[in-house]
């Protein structure tokens, strides 16, 4: 504290002595003072003071930027850092240009050219350093004036400093936060999207690439809308229809594709990427989210029903509030004018349960709670507004107009939201086909682990009784649970403690370890039974009670202690520096102020406020998010949809519209699409059709004038060609199953467990206190070979085939999939057991459906949605087939074999030794395998080699 006072005094004295140099007129002096106060000093503070000012006892390189004198004087090198009037001779300027020294050293903090120019001007004009009073005067004057000078100011609820509150922004950096009008479509006869694109193209002499051919287009559209290849018949028919009337044929195709249930699966997957869907909760325990699949199906259903996006948003955030509105209204409708079934509503808020989170005895309660709320705040901002909010957890946003206060007001909007598994009756449409088979499986393993556990318990109790008998106190025997309680009570009394036998009496050190494993298994399988109960991973309103997330339920009304906590309304504060220990100012629920979009609840005094009661906070937030004049939400969703159609958003970071995200390449088009979307009822299917009927979407991936293209549009921002894209992990697997005829197209239901690499499936994996059970696939091919969106998503165990093809991990929101080619993809696609099985199944299908080898090869291309091969290619493959047939006749595979038991070993933390036990693999006891290479003839295996090559071909892996 002392040093701070000294610092201020020192600044005052130096500031006062900083008289203007002779020869400068007053206005110039004034301009210089302003330059320093408003531009130079804030830059120095944010970029340099961290190492050269804030901590006077630890100045890096002995360079102190707090005063003019010390700033000029320089640091340990001894030579002056600033030569007044001569920026070219000033080492400071050199350093900030990263010529010689590189300052500030972090890439993120590096000054841009504009900022360097500010410093250059300042040095050039005499390095003015006005007094503190003068600085205050200048700032006050500016802040009270309507004209902010350079840049634009955005009104907000107030930052931690006035500098922040009144700072200005370059308009292009805050494009997303500003209101906008619906732009006029440029006057041409063209499709509105093409009209906007042509307007940009007119500035160059580039032209849009011609339309792709019909076969390319149907493959492009079918993958895009369903994630599957078109069937051979569909291709032939479309080619014919397109010849006759392309526009009609194309429109009809889009209509057909949008009507398929596979549409919701494909686009639901995009949404699940953003919200980080998983069937487990990650962290130490990777606890089961047993009913999360219902939320996944809700998402698929919502896309298939073409649910208005504003309703989709509101339901995920606050469907429970909608139901309460319905209950109170006379016509049974909520304030949005429709009715949602209570169970559906409970499922919809599953959004608020995504992302890794757990609370256990190991975690500090307030930190657990903060982890949950921070994650939700950030996720809501990122998902619906395209503004990640985590930056403002610790400070006012560095580049966006979001004060930390707004973050904590948003946080307060969720402060009464508690995660729990809530009752939700199964809905008529929900797929329960796998219930009975799955229940048998869970019960079998629960039974096994319980029996194993009980055997060890029994052994322990025999020894305990004996222990009491040996001491002549047989009558004092009490069962294990009682002994534990006694032990705790009598802990500090050695005499009493001696009357209790050791905890693991009668068990070898190996058995101690095994007992822990069996107890862990029993807990896991008991919890898994939740799957079959009418529950939903959901939320309720109430105070913080923080129970171990081994079992999350709303508090039992009979439990007075919990109910008292439940009824305590939490207050919300700014946590200074993001630390729960540093409670700052109290805040009330509210929204982002800089958007200047008031809430329905807001009043004149606080237009951005949300209800302060326990409930209704989320619905009020959701209605603000979906207000028509909220400039973020509508652009966020149309940009996401565009992003998936073209592989790149109009704004290049669909999760971040802030200053650090990529700026829109076609802002007018984005704005027009957003308004048009809202004008037509927030309907996503309509938007698909609008986009897909544009010439830009139907353009070829090859441009007739490559040179011109490279010169005028090297980054493909102008949308002159359609960018090829690699199939996603799910599309690859689903296409192979479709082509091999193994795909079970049923929709929804319990997580399916496909076969994954057996080594990975059986590899031990630590969870708290124990090992996670082995991954066992479903028993029958029908259950296993479902679409990949239905595959069981375990945070701690990725299907390596999916992972290697860049399926994102469920801990981070994914705005766009990575598609880098790496060698492990080759291993998977050439060598894995799954790929071998698909190739065998497909070969066997080809043999059934076509006679000659030539026709079989041609059908193979067709089933994968590929263009028909030329004669040369067919010849090449026939020749290869013959060669491979000879090879396979001489090299037969071994028949398949599945383990029914697994010998496990684990390093036990109580003993430091390896303990061994047997895990039962019940599924394989009665397993129905896929077609195995040993089951087929050498010729089929040779044809499978051909299929394998097609799976690996560029033509299959990319969509053009």
């Amino acid at each position: 504290m002392k040093s701070k006072v000294a610092l201020i005094t020192c600044l005052l004295i130096l500031g006062a002595s900083c008289a203007p140099s002779a020869g400068q007129n007053v206005s110039n002096e004034d301009a210089q003072a302003k330059l320093f106060t408003l531009q130079v000093l804030p830059l120095l503070k944010s970029k340099c003071f961290g190492c050269h000012g804030n901590d006077p006892d630890n100045l890096q390189g002995d360079y102190d930027l707090r005063t003019r004198q010390s700033a000029l004087k320089g640091g340990e090198s001894g030579s002056p850092a600033i030569v007044v009037g001569k920026p070219g001779a000033s080492p400071l300027l050199e350093a900030i240009k990263w010529e010689g020294l590189e300052m500030p050293p972090k890439e993120n903090d590096r000054l841009n050219e504009q900022q360097i120019e500010i410093i250059r001007q300042w040095i050039q004009s005499g390095a003015a350093w006005p007094s503190q009073e003068k600085q205050t005067e200048i700032k006050k004057q500016l802040w009270s004036s309507a004209d902010p000078g350079k840049g634009m100011r955005l009104e907000n609820s107030g930052g931690l400093s006035e500098e922040w509150t009144y700072r200005t922004y370059a308009p292009e950096d805050v494009w997303a936060f500003q209101p906008f009008e619906k732009p006029k479509v440029p006057a041409t006869h063209k499709h509105p999207i093409d009209a906007f694109i042509e307007k940009e193209l007119d500035k160059t002499n580039l032209e849009m690439a011609p339309q792709a051919d019909a076969a390319t287009l149907i493959r492009r559209a079918t993958y895009d809308l369903t994630g599957l290849p078109p069937t051979p018949d569909e291709v032939t028919q479309f080619e014919l229809a397109s010849q006759q009337n392309h526009k009609k044929a194309w429109n009809d195709l889009i209509t057909r594709l949008l009507a398929r249930p596979q549409y919701g699966e494909r686009w639901g997957q995009h949404w699940l990427d953003v919200v980080r869907y998983a069937d487990t909760s990650g962290m130490s325990n990777d606890f089961e989210r047993s009913n999360a699949w219902r939320y996944r199906d809700y998402v698929v259903r919502s896309f298939n029903q073409n649910k208005p996006y504003n309703h989709f948003v509101i339901e995920q955030l606050a469907a429970d509030d909608l139901v309460r509105e319905q209950e109170k209204s006379e016509d049974g409708k909520n304030a949005n004018g429709y009715t949602i079934a209570p169970a559906e509503a409970q499922v919809a808020t599953g959004f608020l349960r995504m992302g890794p989170w757990e609370h256990t005895a190991m975690s500090p309660e307030r930190v657990s709670r903060q982890n949950y709320l921070d994650d939700m705040v950030n996720s809501i901002g990122q998902t619906f507004l395209s503004v990640p909010l985590r930056c403002c957890k610790c400070h006012d946003h560095k580049s966006d107009p979001i004060p930390t206060r707004d973050y904590y007001r948003f946080y307060a909007a969720l402060a009464t939201t508690q995660p729990a598994e809530m009752k939700a009756a199964l809905l008529p449409g929900e797929n329960q086909a796998a219930f009975s088979e799955e229940r048998t499986h869970v019960e079998a393993l629960l039974d096994y682990s319980t029996k194993e556990r009980e055997k060890l318990y029994a052994k322990r109790e025999v020894a305990a009784r004996k222990w009491y008998e040996e001491r002549g106190i047989a009558d004092q025997y009490v069962p294990f649970n009682k002994r534990q309680i006694l032990g705790r009570q009598k802990f500090f009394d050695e005499n009493e403690a001696a009357k209790i036998p050791p905890r693991f009496i009668g068990l070898t050190s190996e058995e101690e370890g095994v007992l822990k494993v069996r107890e862990g298994e029993s807990r896991i399988w008991t919890r898994r039974l939740e799957r079959f109960q009418p529950l939903a991973q959901s939320v309720y309103y109430g105070g913080d009670i923080l129970v171990n997330s081994r079992m999350l339920r709303p508090p039992n009304p009979k439990n007075k202690k919990l109910m008292a906590k439940h009824k305590t309304m939490p207050t919300s504060h700014i946590y200074e520096g993001g630390s729960v220990e540093a409670m700052g100012q109290q805040v009330t629920p509210g929204v982002l102020s800089a958007l200047q979009v008031s809430t329905y609840h807001g009043d004149q005094e606080d237009p951005y406020s949300l209800p302060k009661v326990t409930d209704r906070r989320r619905i009020a937030l959701a209605r603000w998010i979906t207000k028509k004049d909220n400039p973020l939400t509508k652009r966020s969703i149309v940009n996401r949809i565009w992003n998936y159609h073209f592989g790149k958003g109009l704004a290049g970071n669909p999760n971040n519209f802030g200053a650090t995200g990529k700026k829109p390449t076609h802002p007018d088009l984005l704005n027009w699409l957003a308004e048009d979307f809202v004008d037509h009822g927030w309907r996503i299917k309509r938007l698909h059709r609008l986009i897909m009927t544009s010439a830009a979407y139907q353009a070829s991936t090859t441009h007739p004038d490559k040179k011109q293209l490279d010169a005028a549009d090297p980054n493909h921002d102008l949308l002159t060609v359609f960018q090829p894209r690699r199939l996603s992990a799910e599309e690859i697997r689903d296409s192979l199953l479709a082509a091999s005829g193994e795909l079970n197209p049923s929709v929804g239901g319990l997580p399916a467990r496909p076969e994954i690499n057996l080594e990975v499936a059986l590899a031990p994996r630590m969870v708290q206190f124990s090992l996670a059970p082995a991954y066992q696939p479903n028993r029958t091919p029908e259950m296993r070979n479902r679409r990949s969106i239905y595959a069981y998503r375990i945070c701690g165990l990725a299907d390596p085939m999916m992972e290697v093809f860049n399926r994102p991990k469920p801990d981070e929101s994914c705005e766009v999939r990575d598609t880098a080619s790496v060698s492990p993809q080759v291993f998977t696609l050439m060598n894995s057991d799954s790929i071998t099985k698909r190739s065998i199944a497909m070969a066997s299908r080809l043999e059934k459906e076509a006679e000659s080898i030539e026709d079989q090869i041609r059908l193979g291309f067709a089933l994968l949605g590929l263009n028909q091969p030329g004669e040369g290619t067919v010849e090449l493959l026939v020749e290869h087939f013959e060669k491979m047939s000879r090879y396979h006749a001489e090299n037969p595979p071994q028949p398949g074999d599945y383990p029914v038991e697994l010998a496990r070993s684990v390093v036990e933390e109580f003993t430091g030794e390896t303990c061994h036990y047997v895990e039962r693999l019940d599924i394989y006891e009665n397993y129905v395998p896929d077609l195995h290479p040993a089951d087929v003839k050498p010729g089929t295996r040779a044809l499978a080699d051909i299929c394998l090559l097609l799976f690996n071909s560029n033509e299959f892996i990319y969509v053009y």
Partner: protein, 467 residues
């Protein structure tokens, strides 16, 4: 303005926005192609280490029972332990009591490194004199996966690139046919699984490759038994012809060549990897040096020996996880066993590297995700002799390239909190990068609108560790 630096920035932006370009589509950064290789842009600081072997003791080894003796606890043993301030988690509630270390300690080598009695090989002065024990690190989390994530990736919530990914991104690999970042686990994957060796937002080729001790060393490295290498080659040749055809159809599609090249690289890896992982080829005296002839030490010993072979072949970052250090109870037998399982192999690794003249080029780091408390609670109604998690005190040690042997930092007299030379994990990361010639502030990747770095927001070097 230096044109190279300008390019660098543009280049990075480009990288963040369009992956899959030729230079980055390889599993390994190309050694010769220094300009396009991310690390090629880094001026090497005066670095000694070219490779790093990180020995990760999962569960949180107790500093009090390994390298940081606390005689004061002898007097306090089993006395009631009281905690000041509010109790934030289940671990600070209940009847708590002090626990002394069940082990004796001795001081080894010229730096008088304190070690528990069961370090019979590390205490050999020839080895002890190489060690720099650091007692000043503090982490943010008391929970396993979050602390593991933080120690491995800098971010306790996970999702970011692991330090091995950053190093490989920065330096590339010296061997085209091996992955640059290799991970070995003991019996089970640690809590948090592959998130601990994730490439995060870095291109996928920088992900840690899990090397398996049984079966195929790299997943699906080889075709099924009934498909020979000759058969594989024949398939690849035909595939190449098919793909040449599509190259003609899509002349403007940049990713095709890179993808085709991957098939050749994969084929070369199939040949090279099995040779590297073949431990049996090592002479008998080396095998026994690492303790392969003993049940207690053979598992970790194999991995240490493998690590040496990998580093020798040009692998940049090797990480070995040893589990079972979470001794809430029975610490005497549990820690003793764990210590015995790693003591000889680590000593062997240091000696072996030294004998081959590789120790100066190799940074060895031994650490857990946090340390343990000086006190414990009643478990199962019993006076459990063990320790809970402690994020305020722990120890780690460094050896090899660029490290200054000795003891750095100190904890208070009961080992509850670091009090001297206290540093957050990011400082350890920044120091490790520095020892490998990388500057954390410059080793950045443009992602999600900002330049990201391992330390998240920058950190300070721990000068005392650096020679």
């Amino acid at each position: 303005m230096n044109p190279f630096q300008l390019n660098r920035r543009n280049f990075l932006y480009g990288l963040g926005s369009s992956l899959g370009s030729v230079a980055f589509s390889r599993l390994l950064a190309d050694q010769a192609d220094t300009d396009s290789r991310p690390g090629g842009r880094q001026k090497k600081d005066a670095a000694k280490a070219k490779a790093c072997i990180m020995l990760f003791m999962e569960g949180g080894p107790s500093h009090i029972d390994t390298f940081d003796p606390k005689p004061k606890l002898e007097q306090l043993h089993l006395n009631k332990f009281t905690i000041e301030g509010p109790r934030f988690s289940g671990m600070s509630r209940g009847n708590r009591f002090y626990v002394k270390s069940p082990f004796k300690f001795r001081q080894s080598g010229q730096n008088e490194i304190a070690m528990c009695e069961h370090f019979q090989h590390l205490s050999d002065p020839a080895v002890a004199d190489e060690l720099c024990v650091f007692r000043g690190c503090q982490v943010d989390s008391v929970n396993h996966p979050t602390a593991l994530y933080q120690m491995n990736t800098g971010n306790r919530l996970g999702g970011d690139p692991a330090i091995g990914s950053w190093v490989t991104y920065g330096l590339g690999s010296e061997n085209q046919n091996l992955p640059g970042y290799v991970v070995m686990t003991e019996l089970a994957a640690p809590q948090g699984g592959s998130g601990n060796w994730s490439n995060g937002f870095l291109p996928a080729n920088f992900q840690g490759t899990l090397l398996r001790s049984k079966g195929s060393p790299i997943l699906d490295l080889n075709p099924p038994d009934w498909k020979s290498r000759h058969h594989q080659r024949a398939n690849l040749d035909v595939l190449n012809q098919l793909n040449q055809e599509s190259l003609k159809n899509h002349p403007q599609h940049r990713d095709l060549l890179a993808r085709m090249e991957n098939y050749e690289l994969a084929f070369r890896m199939q040949m090279e990897v099995p040779g590297v992982v073949n431990i049996e080829e090592e002479p008998e005296h080396i095998q026994s040096l690492y303790g392969l002839d003993n049940k207690e030490t053979s598992s970790f010993g194999r991995q240490c020996l493998m690590a040496r072979k990998l580093v020798e072949k040009g692998v940049r970052f090797v990480q070995i996880f040893s589990g079972g250090w979470d001794s809430h109870d029975f610490i005497e037998r549990a820690h003793k066993k764990r210590i015995q399982s790693i003591d000889k192999p680590i000593a062997a690794l240091i000696k072996d590297l030294k004998a081959r003249g590789m120790l100066d080029d190799t940074l060895i780091v031994w650490t857990g995700e946090f340390g343990r408390t000086p006190d414990n609670t009643v478990r199962g109604g019993e006076t459990a002799i063990g320790r809970d998690h402690n994020n305020k005190a722990m120890n780690m040690f460094f050896a090899g390239g660029g490290v200054k042997p000795g003891i750095v930092g100190a904890t208070d007299e009961i080992g509850q909190s670091a009090v001297e030379n206290v540093h957050p994990v990011r400082d350890v990361h920044v120091t490790m990068l520095h020892l490998m010639g990388l500057n954390d502030n410059k080793l950045t990747y443009f992602h999600g609108g900002r330049f990201k770095q391992l330390s998240q927001f920058g950190g300070n070097l721990i000068d005392e560790i650096i020679a």
